[in-house]
């Protein structure tokens, strides 16, 4: 099929349309037994006309999907350590590090150190767990937002929200990213003493029961002496980072 050489030039040229030749139809054209009439044609989903293209499409998919799922060969690099303060995980492949970073360090609550799979869940967590204004408002109006993106429903209590997630969105009853807060009062910067007084395992520290980890004994916190393994309030973190190492109690004095 030889194409006129000027055609390629036309493609590369400026947009434009041809000045149409005058249209002049004779009514005799469409008289029986002749029936041609120009018309755009439409084909629905399952039409046989699509068979060939559909087959080619699926051949391609087969090739692609056969490659998916196996662990790909990773280029190895000299071992390096995660740079996040307190994390001592070692890696020899960049992709492994990327996943580690995103899973553990990207969406981390600075109040309680919990890691979340997405910014959305982190924001919801901070609002519901660490924002005293939220608690106040929640007494008067529906504040607990549905966790499913796109659903705008709000609820009075976290229990109501859970019920909605289960009934409406078919979520599992023990969905791990919707744990209700267990503490008596709000966890806020000013209540540092209260936080300190609580032993690890209570609200504010990733606990065994907390479903963020399957095995809490393998949590990645820094190898700090047992006495300092406590939750620091948000405000305290700032103090500690600018001053020389002092005990938390001294900082509060």
């Amino acid at each position: 099929m030889q194409l006129p050489p000027a055609l390629h030039a036309r493609l590369a040229g400026a947009p434009g349309s041809a000045e149409p030749l005058p249209v002049e139809r004779d009514p005799a054209a469409r008289t029986a037994p002749f029936r041609f009439a120009p018309r755009p044609v439409r084909f629905p989903r399952e039409h046989d006309f699509f068979e060939e293209g559909d087959v080619q499409r699926h051949l391609y998919l087969q090739d692609v999907l056969t490659q998916v799922g196996g662990a790909p060969e990773r280029p190895r690099v000299p071992e390096f350590t995660c740079q996040v303060a307190g994390c001592c995980q070692v890696f020899d492949a960049l992709e492994d590090y990327e996943h580690h970073y995103h899973t553990l360090h990207r969406n981390v609550c600075s109040f309680c150190k919990r890691a979340f799979p997405s910014g959305h869940l982190l924001d919801t967590h901070i609002l519901e767990w660490h924002d005293s204004l939220f608690q106040i408002l929640a007494e008067r109006q529906d504040m607990y937002q549905c966790l499913v993106e796109g659903c705008t429903e709000k609820f009075r209590t976290s229990r109501d929200r859970k019920e909605h997630l289960v009934m409406r969105h078919l979520y599992p009853v023990d969905f791990r990213f919707d744990k209700p807060r267990k503490s008596r009062g709000p966890v806020m910067p000013g209540a540092a003493e209260q936080v300190l007084a609580e032993a690890p395992g209570d609200d504010g520290v990733p606990s065994e029961v907390d479903a963020m980890e399957v095995c809490s004994e393998h949590v990645e916190p820094p190898p700090a002496p047992a006495g300092e393994r406590r939750a620091y309030s948000h405000r305290e973190m700032e103090l500690v980072s600018f001053s020389c190492p002092r005990t938390v109690a001294q900082n509060l004095a």
């Binding site: 099929m1 030889q2 006129p4 055609l7 493609l11 947009p15 349309s17 000045e19 149409p20 030749l21 005058p22 249209v23 002049e24 005799a28 037994p33 002749f34 041609f36 120009p38 018309r39 755009p40 044609v41 084909f43 629905p44 989903r45 006309f49 699509f50 068979e51 060939e52 293209g53 087959v55 080619q56 499409r57 699926h58 051949l59 391609y60 087969q62 090739d63 999907l65 056969t66 490659q67 998916v68 799922g69 492994d96 996943h99 995103h102 899973t103 969406n107 799979p117 997405s118 910014g119 869940l121 499913v148 993106e149 796109g150 969105h169 599992p172 791990r176 479903a211 399957v214 095995c215």
Partner: protein
């Protein structure tokens, strides 16, 4: 500029002839499935023979005790490497249906796997996701449905940031989607559409390709026109899809192929094409067509026809919408470069994949049917002769070519004049020799138009033994009347 993603196809160990034979078998199986409307089926997604040939060692079958041990080690092992290794072994075993069956029957196994999937041990998470992916591939419904407790997490992770992990979740979801309407009935209320709409903003090409795949499977579902496409159209997905199809340096072939097919499934379901048109679908697809033609000239790149096909379909179907008339004033729809691009693509298809020619010609028909401007372009760009060259390819192609020629001829004397003289008459005499009734019928229609609008055409026809050519069809039911009418016109004017 088209950026090619890292090549997915690994070198294979079987010979070329064997590959060709295997491919023919696969094609035949797919064709059969398509006729039975079973094309969206788990069994056809992976080419099993190919897989077995690639596996160096055949995966072992594990029993209950072994599986339990792997799970225990993964959950509670002391060494990180040890825990990972246990899951890797489990994953390999899960390639065997027997192991899959044993696994799902083991109490607490899925729960443990989901626990590992949602743990904060990143590499364990990945391996657990791979195990789940294996299960999702199974042909046995019980195995696939055992994965259902994980879906809310898979969807949650789509809003994350780890591209490898998200890619895996998407392919797993894609497999689950294909499984059954029951599975989709869970995924939809769990928010799969908004989750995909959020995820499509990812900058990672691998994620986008996986998302396009999963979405295309969702849109192909039988119940899609009623239950799925409306909510997809109501989301931001269409805008993002169109953006990913825009020509430019960032256009990636693998990604574009997936989303072009997604668009096709939406458009041919005819739910709300007017909306897509207002979002600029016609304009984007028109520009993409131009870009494709450019790419085809520059490179022997395998796979451009995979994108051409859905683009043809989308454009052709959209052109039939009333809304298309309204925006017809837009330059893209009148731009004769579209016709130039289409012919360059037709030439490409003729060499690469002739079975796709009808789709391109369908688009040409829809472009020219009601457009004097495009019909004029065909004439002024000298495209009639190349068009005639296609007449020998197949009956379907011939009918379409003749239809396009009729589109031009029926617009009157000014057009027929430009069709004459030239190779048209001898081509028509050739097609009259075909036995296919539709081909001959369309030739008769074209002849009538030429006799009507072009003085001298009937005369020339007679001189070239046209009457004899007509004679052989005198007894054919669908052709008789027209044959006689033409004989009369030729003889008596």
């Amino acid at each position: 500029m088209w950026s090619r993603q890292r090549g997915r196809l690994k070198p294979l160990c079987c010979g070329v002839e064997e590959l060709r034979c295997r491919r023919r078998e696969r094609e035949a199986a797919l064709r059969k499935a398509r006729r039975e409307q079973q094309l969206v089926s788990k069994r056809l997604l992976r080419d099993e023979a190919l897989e077995e040939a690639e596996e160096g060692c055949v995966a072992m079958i594990f029993g209950e005790a072994e599986i339990q041990q792997f799970l225990r080690l993964a959950q509670r092992g002391t060494e990180e490497k040890e825990r990972e290794g246990a899951l890797v072994s489990l994953r390999r075993g899960l390639q065997r249906p027997e192991t899959q069956q044993t696994f799902i029957r083991l109490e607490g196994s899925i729960r443990t796997l989901v626990g590992l999937l949602t743990s904060n041990q990143a590499l364990l998470q990945l391996e657990a996701a791979r195990c789940l992916h294996e299960l999702s591939h199974s042909e046995q419904s019980a195995v696939v449905e055992a994965c259902l407790p994980a879906t809310s997490y898979l969807l949650t992770y789509l809003s994350g940031h780890s591209s490898d992990f998200i890619e895996l979740c998407l392919y797993t979801l894609g497999n689950l989607i294909v499984e059954s309407e029951a599975v989709r009935r869970q995924l939809l209320p769990q928010g799969i559409v908004p989750a995909l709409a959020a995820c499509i903003q990812s900058p990672h090409l691998t994620v986008l390709e996986a998302l396009g795949y999963a979405l295309s499977q969702l849109l192909q579902a039988k119940e899609a026109p009623e239950k799925i496409i409306p909510s997809v159209l109501g989301s931001t997905l269409p805008q993002h899809m169109l953006q990913l199809l825009q020509p430019g340096p960032k256009l990636n072939l693998g990604v574009a192929v997936e989303f072009a097919w997604c668009l096709h499934y939406i458009i041919c379901s005819q739910v709300n094409n007017a909306l897509l048109i207002t979002q600029g679908a016609l304009s984007t697809l028109g520009l993409l067509l131009l870009d494709l033609a450019g790419a085809v000239q520059r490179t022997e790149d395998a796979g451009l026809e995979l994108l051409a096909c859905p683009v043809f379909r989308c454009l052709s179907n959209l052109l039939t919408e009333a809304a298309a008339e309204a925006v017809g004033g837009q330059l893209q729809l009148r731009d004769e470069r579209v016709v130039a691009a289409l012919f360059i693509l037709l030439q490409f298809l003729l060499q690469k994949q002739p079975s796709l020619l009808p789709e391109g010609l369908w688009l040409l028909n829809n472009l020219t049917a009601n457009s004097p401007s495009f019909c004029t372009s065909l004439l002024s760009l000298d495209l009639i002769e190349p068009l005639l060259h296609l007449l020998s390819v197949s009956n379907v192609v011939s009918v379409l070519v003749l239809t396009v020629l009729c589109n031009v001829a029926e617009k009157g004397p000014a057009y027929c004049q430009r069709l004459w003289p030239g190779p048209l008459l001898s081509s028509l005499l050739d097609t009259l020799a075909f036995s296919d009734t539709e081909v001959v019928g369309q030739s008769l229609e074209l002849l009538q138009l030429l006799f009507l609008y072009q003085p001298g055409a009937a005369q020339a026809f007679l001189q070239q033994s046209g009457l004899q050519a007509l004679q052989r069809h005198e007894e054919v039911a669908q052709l008789q009347d027209r044959v006689h009418a033409l004989q009369q016109t030729a003889l008596h004017g």
